[in-house]
């Protein structure tokens, strides 16, 4: 019996960045929950990654490796993870609050009758109960919630938890999981995947985000945002006003009705800082604001501000950052 069971995400034959973050937090919690850490790998050809998971601190790796898991489907994956959790019988199951984790965790909670805590930013054990802090109202308030089911399922916000450092000397036993699910068990069938124009990281998992607002004056000026993002190794975001105006796709929207993000660096360009936008990015570690209006609310939350015209400041900043990279 393990104290913590971690669902480890993979992408294109590698562990995702969140894997080390989830394993890191699981390792810290295992002691206070009185037991070890089991990790669960699901996919096609993922068995080879079990050694990497062991290096991140798993005491045992449960692997469901089959063709049916080649692409994520909640119906197939929940069967595999439910089996793994039954074999592990942990006090806490941990997943990343990613696109996959947000589908899988609720299905797992319903399948196992466990309490579900989502998108948490800290986890502790108080009086034997798993107790978490989690932003609500897109971060306008923080709730402290305690769960009292035998097993608790929690999704952890990406970019928040300290990743486990790999220990190359660690190994762990690997056990197969028979999920008992075939292609005929999947009712929602993915017929086709329409690739995005550019393959970029989801905003919620990005380390650096450069967002543009109405101050950019039009979609034709977005190359300034894109160039700055490229220079600093980040991805592009947008304010709600810009998305509502149709300048940018909705998946780039940061804010209460878009994505809530916590990158290492958030650069807001030409964004005034409406309440619902601030709610979505205020947990960023470092915020930079560039805005022509010195009274813009964005400056109140920004660690560093430049009052000035984005069209003048951004190209210079881009050049400076490019020089650094060379």
């Amino acid at each position: 019996m393990a104290a913590v069971c971690v669902f480890v995400e993979t992408s294109k034959g590698k562990l995702k960045k969140s894997a080390a973050e989830m394993m890191g937090e699981a390792g810290r919690l295992a002691g206070s929950l009185g037991g070890g850490v089991d990790a669960v790998l699901v996919g096609k050809g993922v068995a080879a990654l079990a050694a990497d998971v062991a290096k991140l601190g798993a005491d045992r790796v449960l692997v469901a490796d089959a063709d049916v898991f080649a692409a994520f489907t909640v119906e197939a994956y929940v069967k595999a993870v439910t089996k793994a959790v039954a074999a592990s019988s942990p006090k806490l199951v941990v997943l990343a609050a990613s696109v996959v984790g947000k589908d899988l965790a609720p299905a797992l909670a319903a399948a196992t009758g466990s309490a579900l805590l989502t998108d948490v930013t800290s986890v502790g054990v108080e009086g034997g109960k798993v107790t978490v802090r989690k932003p609500v109202y897109a971060g306008k308030a923080i709730a402290t919630v305690a769960a009292s089911t035998d097993t608790v399922i929690a999704t952890l916000r990406p970019n928040v938890f300290e990743p486990a450092a790999p220990d190359d000397s660690r190994t762990a036993p690997v056990e197969p999981v028979e999920a008992g699910v075939g292609a005929d068990g999947i009712r929602a069938v993915v017929k086709e995947v329409l690739a995005k124009a550019s393959e970029k990281l989801d905003l919620t998992e990005a380390d650096i985000i450069v967002s543009g607002g109405r101050g950019m004056k039009g979609p034709e000026n977005w190359h300034l945002i894109e160039n700055l993002a490229a220079a600093v190794g980040g991805v592009t975001g947008a304010s709600r006003a810009v998305v509502d105006a149709g300048w940018r796709p909705h998946e780039e929207q940061v804010g209460q009705t878009g994505k809530t993000v916590s990158p290492k660096l958030y650069i807001a360009v030409g964004i005034s800082g409406a309440i619902q936008h601030l709610a979505g990015m205020r947990t960023s570690k470092c915020i930079v604001a560039i805005n022509v209006d010195a009274e813009a609310p964005i400056f109140k939350v920004a660690d560093y501000g430049i009052v000035g015209d984005a069209f003048e400041v951004v190209p210079v900043l881009t050049e400076e950052l490019k020089k650094l990279r060379e």
């Binding site: 306008k140 400041v313 900043l317």
Partner: protein
Amino acid sequence: MDLIVCVKRVPDSAAKIKVASDGKSIDRSGVEHVISPYDEIALERAIQLKEAAGDGSVTVVCLGPAEATKEIRQALAMGADKAVHVKDAHGARGPLGIAKVLAATVKDRAFDALLFGKQSIDSDNSAVGILVAQLLDLPVVSLVTKLEIADGKATAHREAEGGTEVVEVALPAVFTAQRGLAEPRYPSIKGIMMAKKKPIEEVEAPAPSGKLELAKLEPPPERKGGRIVGEGADAVPELVKLLRQEAKVI
């Protein structure tokens, strides 16, 4: 075509959130409430699908306090045909608790599709639609940006990590709406008048199981922002220096 849409009453996204004196809830005085925006998108698409089919019904299900009658009337004014108000006098409950009440409410009603917003903008769990699907053993497609229903099956576009998935699913099924699925309409005067005569079935929500306990609600930590590095492009070298040496983020 019979569709059910679950909607939640939430504070508007423009609202300031203040913690109430009990330290466990928010101060709702003066706070504008609305249908949670993603639920409203789901509702709009359901109404469009029913209108295009030319038959069937859209039923709105709302688990919420007595005051949620306002949001239910709004949904009816948009074009839903009838509503079930599961009156909740007990206050907060966790996502699984909410899902159990909703699953019990819809399970004996006939529907082709059950729609939710991808998340409510108050508790931000992104969970209830998927929980209900699992409880009812129905297939679910989340983060839907396009939805067509014909010949007993649905085709949905889902915003996945690597791109847009085109998903085919037999009905009945559950869908959670992402932005882009539809643009909610403003109710017409006629719609508002008609909504007053549409039926709202009222049932009482059971007491929550108490498996989740909200111990505390507090404002987020203040950011000590407000530092202006300088004006215009001249301030850029100083900014870059601070980002490298002080914040150490680049």
